[in-house]
Structures are given as C-alpha cells and as structure tokens.
C-alpha cells in the first residue's frame, strides 16, 4: 500500500482511527464489502452508525432492522461498504429476515462478516456465530455491550474466545464508541488477508450423519471444486433447504465459487 518505512504509529488502531473517513451512503466504489450480522438487539445498528456516520434509527427491541441498510467508510486507504443485516438468532429457519441475512452472507460473499454479539449473553449468541463460521471463513467477532457485562460482573476472556473460534474477537461498547478503532483494525486485517482466520467448525457426533455428510461433500467437491464451504452446503442439502437445492439446480453455487476465486486472486 505504501512504500515509506513503517512508523511506530502505523500499527496503532488509535492512530488509524484518525484516518477513518465516514462516507455515509456514498459508496460509489469500494474495495471490500463488510456484513454486520448478529442476534437481535445486540447493537448492530449502533456499530453501523459508529462506522459510517449515518444515523440509522436504533431502538431497544429485537427486530428493529428488517431490511438491509448500507453505508460506507474509508480506512487505511481502502473503501469499505458496510451492510447492516437484520438481527437473527439462527440462519436455519425460514423467516424473511433470517433469509435476508443468510442469503447475503452466502450469496453476497462479503469480504468480512462482523458478528456482533452481546457479551452478557455469550452462550446464546455463539449459536449464531458458529453458524456464520460454517458459511464464511472470514469473520470478526465484535463482543459488544462489554460495559453492561462489566456492570454485571461478567468477565469474558477475549483471547481464549478468539483462540477457540479461530477469528479475531474485539471487546466493544459501541454506544460509547469504545473498541471501534480495534474493530476497524481487525476488519482491515481480515479483509486484506493480513490475518488468516481458522474458523471453528462444528464437531458432529452422530456417526451416521458424519458418514452422509462426507459422502455428499465429496460429490459437491467434484462438481464445484472451488466452493469454500462444501460441508455446510452438504448439511443444508441433507436438511432439505429449498433455497440451497435451487442454487445447486440453477448452478448458482458454481458462480459463487468462481467469484471467490476471482476475489482471492484480486487480493493476491
């Protein structure tokens, strides 16, 4: 990106925050697409506003965002498009808002998916995190509402969590704009390939299921050799997910893998 020798400050997120330009809805050209996923009412829209300078209406009730909101920002000389997805508890069932979120993460192939989680309710929020990590391997977990967790004497070991999940974990209190610089830095690192995620993948115990998955995975790999998340596709097919069945039929999955090759090569 720059030829000048690295200065000490370059690594510091606080320094780089000074370089954050909030673009609002001006997103004519961008280098990376970032999706914001998470359970309802964890503060996705607050994070969105903090990054884009937009003022998406925020409300303290689950289900406030039902459509996709988009905004942009510039960080480290790269232009980012940020997409605020509806809050969902899972990506498995079929309500419209869950479908909007799932389709964007799968078919929209964001360069980074930021999963906003509620630090006071980590276990339940992890259900969604694990599902997102099955679909995409480039993610950052934003451990939001850390101030509320501290008030309730709940301690979260972010390093341990990051190690277990295989993706960066950033503690944040988005309402106070705490942790936003660190979040930006990690999003940038994952997007640019400076940080390679090794996302946690589910361990399945039922041997019969495991056998079926590997059999189907092999078939999908043969047909779509470049697909990054064959196991998850296999699992969805076994579950009878109509949207995925249609995507196999129409060959849309093939386009996905082609696109991910294109972006990978562009990054290299």
């Amino acid at each position: 990106m720059s030829q000048t020798p690295k200065e000490n400050c370059d690594d510091c997120p606080v320094h780089n925050l000074g370089n954050l330009t909030k673009l609002g809805i001006n997103m004519s050209q961008f280098d990376f697409v970032v999706a914001l996923a998470g359970n309802p009412n964890t503060g996705k829209s607050t994070v969105f506003n903090a990054l884009t300078g937009l003022r998406q209406h925020t409300g303290n009730w689950p289900g406030k965002t039902v459509t996709r909101a988009e905004g942009g920002f510039v960080y480290g000389n790269k232009r980012f498009k940020l997409v605020d997805l509806p809050g969902t508890y899972s990506l498995l069932s079929t309500s419209t808002d869950e479908e909007v979120a799932r389709d964007f993460i799968l078919f929209g192939q964001p360069d980074v998916t930021v999963i906003v989680v509620d630090a006071t309710r980590l276990e339940r929020n992890l259900n969604l995190v694990l599902q997102v990590l099955e679909i995409t391997h480039r993610a950052v977990v934003c451990l939001n509402l850390i101030d509320e967790a501290q008030r309730h004497n709940i301690k979260v070991d972010t390093r341990r969590l990051a190690k277990d999940l295989g993706v960066p974990v950033v503690a944040a209190a988005a309402r106070q704009e705490e942790g936003i610089p660190e979040l930006l830095k990690n999003v940038y690192d994952v997007a640019s390939g400076a940080y390679i995620c090794r996302p946690y993948r589910l361990e399945r115990t039922a041997p019969r299921l495991e056998k079926a998955i590997s059999e189907l995975t092999a078939k999908i790999k043969k047909e779509f050799p470049l697909l990054p998340n064959t196991r998850w596709i296999a699992l969805r097919l076994l579950d009878g997910d109509q949207k995925i069945i249609d995507a196999v039929k129409s060959g849309e999955l093939g386009n996905l893998s082609a696109k991910s090759v294109a972006t990978r090569e562009a990054v290299q």
Binding site: G59, S95, E123, V156
Partner: protein, 484 residues
Amino acid sequence: MKNRLKKEQRTTTAGKESILSSANTLRWEIGEHVHDSLIESIYADANQIASRAVTLPDGKPRFDFDKKLDSLITSRWFGFPLMFLLLAFVFWLTVEGANIPSALIASLLVDTMHPWLRSVFVLIGSPWWLTGVLADGVWLAMAWVVSVMLPPMAIFFPLFTLLEDFGYLPRVAFNMDSLFRRAGAHGKQSLSMTMGFGCNAAGVVATRIIDSPRERLIAIITNNFSLCNGRWPTQILIASIFFGALAPPALAGFITAGAVVGVATLGIFFTLVVSWGLSRTLLKGEASSFSLELPPYRPPQLWQTLYTSLIDRTAIVLWRAIVFAAPAGAVIWLVSNIHVGTMSIAEHFINFSNPFGMLLGLNGVIIIAYIIAIPANEIVIPTVLMMTVLSTKLSGIGNGAGVMFELNEATAVADVLRAGGWTVLTGLNLMLFSLLHNPCSTTIYTIYKETKSVKWTALATVIPTIMGIVICFLVAQIYRLLFV
C-alpha cells in the same frame, strides 16, 4: 483462470442431479433428525466455548433492578393499567405542550406572513386567480399543516422514541402476547402494531419479523387500525373541541388525552377482533409459538434520541405532509372558485355527498375531505375547515370562499365547526371514521409491495372502510335514538 472458469460453468446437469438425488437418498437413510442433531451440536459447542471464556460473578447476585421492574411492568395485574397510564401521560404531555407553539406558529405563518405574501403578489401585479391559488390555496394549506402537525409531533415522537430506547416495547409485546394468541395471530404482531402508531407503511414493513406467512398477512391487514401520526393531530384537535370542552378547564387536558387513548384502545380492540375473524375464515390456522427476548433496560441516549426523532422522523413526516398539502390546497381553492351554474364545484360535491354523510352521523364535507386526503391523512382537518366555511357561507372568518384561514385557537375552530352544524355526534364519528377508513395511498402501495397480491391489498383497503361506514352508521342511529 479463464479456462478454469469455463470448465466451472460447464458443470454437467448430470452432476447436479446426482448431488441432489444422493442428498435425497441420504436424507431418508439418516432419518428425520438432521435438523435436531445439528441444532444439538451447535448448542453443545456453543456451551463448551462459552463456558471456557466466560467467568460469571460468584456469590449472591446484586439487587436486580431489571428483574424488579419487569415483574411490575409485565405483571398480570399492573401490566395493562400501567401501559394505558403511560400512553395517557404521553398524550397529555402532547396535548398540553402543543397548544401554545401551535398558536405561535399559526400566528406567524397565517396572521403575519399570509397577508404579507398576498400584498407581495398584488404588488407585482399577479392576476387574482394566481394570487388565489398560490397564496390562499397552496400557502395556507401548508401553513395549516405545519401549525397543526409540527408541535404535537415534535413532542410525541421524542417521547415515544425514549420509551423505545429504554426497552419498553418488547414488554408491551409480552403483555399483549396472550391476547394475540387467542386471536389466532402472532405475538410479534404487537410490535408491528406499535410501529403502526408512528406510520402504517412502516408498520407494514415491520411485519417482516413474523415468520409465518399466514400470521404476517393478518398483521399487515390489521395494521391500519393503529392510529398513525397523520391521524393523531385530527384526534387530538377534535377530542379537545368536543370532549375536552365538556369538562372544566382544569380537567380538559385529561379528558382530551383520555378520549384519544380511548380511540387508540378501540383501534387495538379492532386489531384483535379482525385478526380473530381472519384467522377463523380467510386465513385459518393456529398461532405459532416464538421466543421473545426481553432486552435489558438501557438508559436512553437523550441527545441522540432527540436528534433522530426530530430530524429523521418529525422532519420527514412533516415534509411528506407539506408535499401533499400544497397541491391539495391548490385543488381546494380551484374547486371552491370555479362555478358551474350558481354553485361552485365544491358545493355541488358537498350537496351530493351530504345525505350519505348525514346517514353516518358525519356530513358531506367530511366525506369529500376523506376522498381528497387519500394521499395523506394529514390534510383532513384543513380541508374540512375550509369546506365548512364555504358550504355554510360563513362571513367574517377567513377571507371568503376557498381560503383556508387563520384559526390559531381551538375555540375558533370550534366556532366554525358548530356553525357548520357539527354536534358531539359529528365529532365522535369523525374520530371513529379517522380510525376506521382506507389506509393512505403510501400504505396501500407498501401493502402491495409486501404481499405482491392485489387481493390482499384490496382486502386491507376495503375491510376498514366498510367497518368505518357500518360503525359510524350504528353509532349515529343509537345517538339519535337516545339524544334527539
């Protein structure tokens, strides 16, 4: 790279078929438990990871404010009364707070600026009809909408947003869940219903949080029973003229707020009744279960709330009202001043629709106003006032035919309406009809976009209109039996 892509696109249909067919066979082999076992493994892994990373506080938990507050707000006995008290309090603040700024704005825009604007037009020698259309039609319609709508909205929206920010809405949903379930509808419908109190089009979009298509349709069709911000000012004004005035001045504010809450509650009642009817006839089915998270109470962010609710909500809604009021003002001036025979076009219309209006305990003017106000409910009151002056040939008020005039105090509005033959019945039925009539054109269009069905859109438009006609008719008959 290019070669590879081409090869990729040439994936055989045979290959795809083989994936799908083996998925099918395997699905049969492993039985029905894929979904459950997948969810089980997600939960197990989440539990394991969380338990390693999280240290929970040990010892006795501190005094839990949230829990105490929840046990009060969602209590079986206090939940609903608290809800109505809170709602009444918000309206009382709105009614009391809006009077003075409304009068100030009206005196500025109407008393001061309108004559000035007219004189400018006359000075530059514009023809009388142009002065009429622009100054007496367009300007006054806009001035009226701003002075009637801006103050209540600027008070109501921030208050509502503060409640929303605090975390009150999910508790309302929690309280109302059992009612909606008994009506065969989805508990989350109370959330889209609450959004409808701001704007029905927004409420219709908010029904996306409802998973089942059947229950979502019910929520869409009944959203119009939530009074929207285009109708609150009508309710508040008419309630203060016809009900607040019945009480001693000290209590007028309470009575007015009470009457408005009464109509809003009636709207909730109709939401439930129509949901119940739909789920037993056209949209048969059982209510589905769902989990509703009660988020922690959060201290509202005062300044940000003020900013978003004033700039985003109030300004946008006001702008919409002005955009619709301007052409409406021009049209009203024109139909009032173009004569066919001895009467203006407006008078022909009013005479034509008067018998039907009277049958409903309304009058011809109100019927015309609701037709003109299909694009936006906001312009009902200005239209009604202007047409009343016109049809009763009131002199000494305003500037004559087709002019929306200065009425900066509710008493002046009351005088005009009484002179136009309005009674308590007319006021009551106008409030009812304002609750029960077709959605505005924006909402109708939104319903069509969300349902992609002419049938459901038509139904959502026709049901409330028919209900409005029937109920106003019944109320009028009963009132006349009892009091006349």
